[in-house]
Symmetry: C2
C-alpha cells in the first residue's frame, strides 16, 4: 500500500505519515523504484499501535521507545492500552457526572465551590488550598450570580418553572408524611414526573442520569439541605424514589 491508501485507511493525513517516517517512528518497509513509500501489513500494525498510544497522550518519541522495546511483547502493549483506556473511561465518566451535578445545581439554585468544579481536573492536591480558598471568598455573591446567570430564562419563565418543581416537591413531602413507601408506584410516578420536569425545563435527563442525581441528593450535603428544608427526611425519600424509578425504566 502507498501513503494515500494507508492515510485514508487509518484516518490520518499523508503529511502525518511523512512525519512519522522522518522521525523514524514508522518507516515503511519498502520503497518503489520511483521512491514511493510502500507499507506492509506489519507497518499497518505498527501504525495502529502508534495511533493508539498517541490518542492516549504519549509523545511520539516515547511511543517509539515503547514500541521498539524488544522486551515488550504485543500482549503487554494490549494490556497497557487496556488499562489506560479504562482509566480514561473512568475520568470521562467523572467529568460527565460533574457536569450533570452542575446542571442540577443550577436547576435547584445551588452554587458549587470552585474547588469542586476543578476537582475533576488536576491531579488533586487536596486540603491545603481547599480551606484557604474557602476562607477567602466562601460566602460571596455566588447565589446572586447563579440566579442572574439563569437569565437565559425570563423571570416569568423562571417563576413558572419554580412553581412546577415546588409542586412536585410538595407532593413528595405529602407522600412522605402519609407513609407512602419511597419505592411504591406512587412515589416512583412522582419521581418520573420530576425527571420529565427536569428534561423539559433544563436538560435532557435520562433515567440513569436521574439515578445519579438521586444518589447525589443524599451524598452532597447542600442538596440534602435543600430537600430537608422542605421536609425532614425528604432528601432520602426523593433519592430512593428516584432510584427506584430509574430501575423500573431499565
Amino acid at each position: 500500500m502507498n501513503v494515500g491508501e494507508v492515510a485514508a485507511l487509518a484516518g490520518v493525513t499523508v503529511r502525518t505519515l511523512h512525519h512519522y517516517d522522518r522521525i523514524g517512528l514508522l518507516q515503511p518497509s519498502g520503497r518503489t523504484a520511483a521512491g514511493y513509500r510502500q507499507y506492509s501489513p506489519a507497518d499497518l500494525d505498527r501504525l495502529h499501535q502508534v495511533l493508539l498510544y498517541r490518542e492516549l497522550g504519549f509523545p511520539l518519541e516515547e511511543v517509539a521507545t515503547l514500541l521498539d522495546d524488544p522486551s515488550a511483547d504485543p500482549a503487554e502493549h494490549l494490556r497497557r492500552q487496556h488499562r489506560l483506556l479504562r482509566d480514561r473511561l473512568e475520568r470521562t465518566s467523572a467529568m460527565v457526572a460533574a457536569v450533570e451535578k452542575e446542571m442540577e445545581a443550577r436547576a435547584m439554585g445551588i452554587s458549587l465551590t470552585p474547588e469542586e468544579r476543578f476537582e475533576v481536573f488536576g491531579d488533586w492536591l487536596p486540603e491545603e488550598y481547599a480551606a484557604e480558598a474557602e476562607e477567602k471568598w466562601g460566602g460571596t455573591d455566588a447565589w446572586a450570580q447563579s440566579q442572574q446567570r439563569t437569565r437565559a430564562m425570563s423571570k416569568d419563565d423562571w417563576l413558572r418553572v419554580k412553581a412546577e418543581s415546588d409542586d412536585v416537591e410538595a407532593r413528595f413531602a405529602a407522600a412522605l408524611r402519609s407513609g407512602v413507601p419511597a419505592d411504591s408506584e406512587q412515589a416512583m410516578d412522582l419521581a418520573e414526573e420530576h425527571r420529565q420536569q427536569i428534561s423539559r425545563n433544563f436538560y435532557d435527563c435520562s433515567p440513569e442520569m436521574h439515578a445519579g442525581l438521586g444518589r447525589m441528593y443524599v451524598e452532597d450535603e447542600r442538596f440534602t439541605a435543600y430537600y430537608e428544608r422542605v421536609a425532614p427526611g425528604l432528601a432520602q425519600y426523593v433519592s430512593t424514589a428516584v432510584q427506584a424509578n430509574a430501575a423500573r425504566h431499565a
Copy 2:
C-alpha cells in the same frame, strides 16, 4: 487570588495562565498596584469552562468565541459539554471493546483485518477501501505472524495453554451434546473456568469483559467459526453460558 493559587487550584501552570491572558482568552479582572494578576470567582468560572472545552479538543481561539458568544447562556454550554463528553465516553468504550476483542483474538489465534483495527479511529469512510484492501492482501501470512508474535510465550507454554483451552472447549461441547442447558449451573461453571483461564494466561478478564466476549462469539463470524469447528451450535452455547455466568457474578 493571584496566579500561583489559581494555577494550583486548577491544575495548570502559571505560564498557561499568562498565555491565556495574552491571547485574551482569560484576562484576570484586576491587577494589584505592582502589576500582579488578580483573579475573581467569575474568572475561575471562566477558567473552568476553558479547561473543559480545551480537554474536549477545541482550539483556544474557538473556545474564546464560544465563551464570548453573548447569545449562549451557561446552560447551553453545559448541555454542549455534556453531549461532547458522552460522545467521548462512547468512543472510549468502543476503543476498550476493540482492545478486548484484539486480546481475545490473539488468545484464540484469530487475526483481525487492518480495517477492523482502524475502525475505531477515522471518521469512517467505509466500503470503498474495505473491499479493495481486502483483495490486496486478504489471505497473507497474517496467521503465521500472529502466531509468531505470541512468542513472548515459549512454545511449551503455548502448548500447555492451548491444551487447557482445548479441554474446556471439549467439556463445553460435551455439555452441549448431552443437552445440558447453556444457562445451567454446570455450563456457567465451565464459563467461569474459561474466564479464569483467560485471566491466568492472557489478560485480566472481568465478568463484564467476559460478557462482552460472549456477545462477540455470536456477532463476529470468525469467532463463531472458531467454535463451530469444534461443534455445531457451540458458539451460541458458549456465548449464552458466558453471559449467564457474568450475570451471576454481578
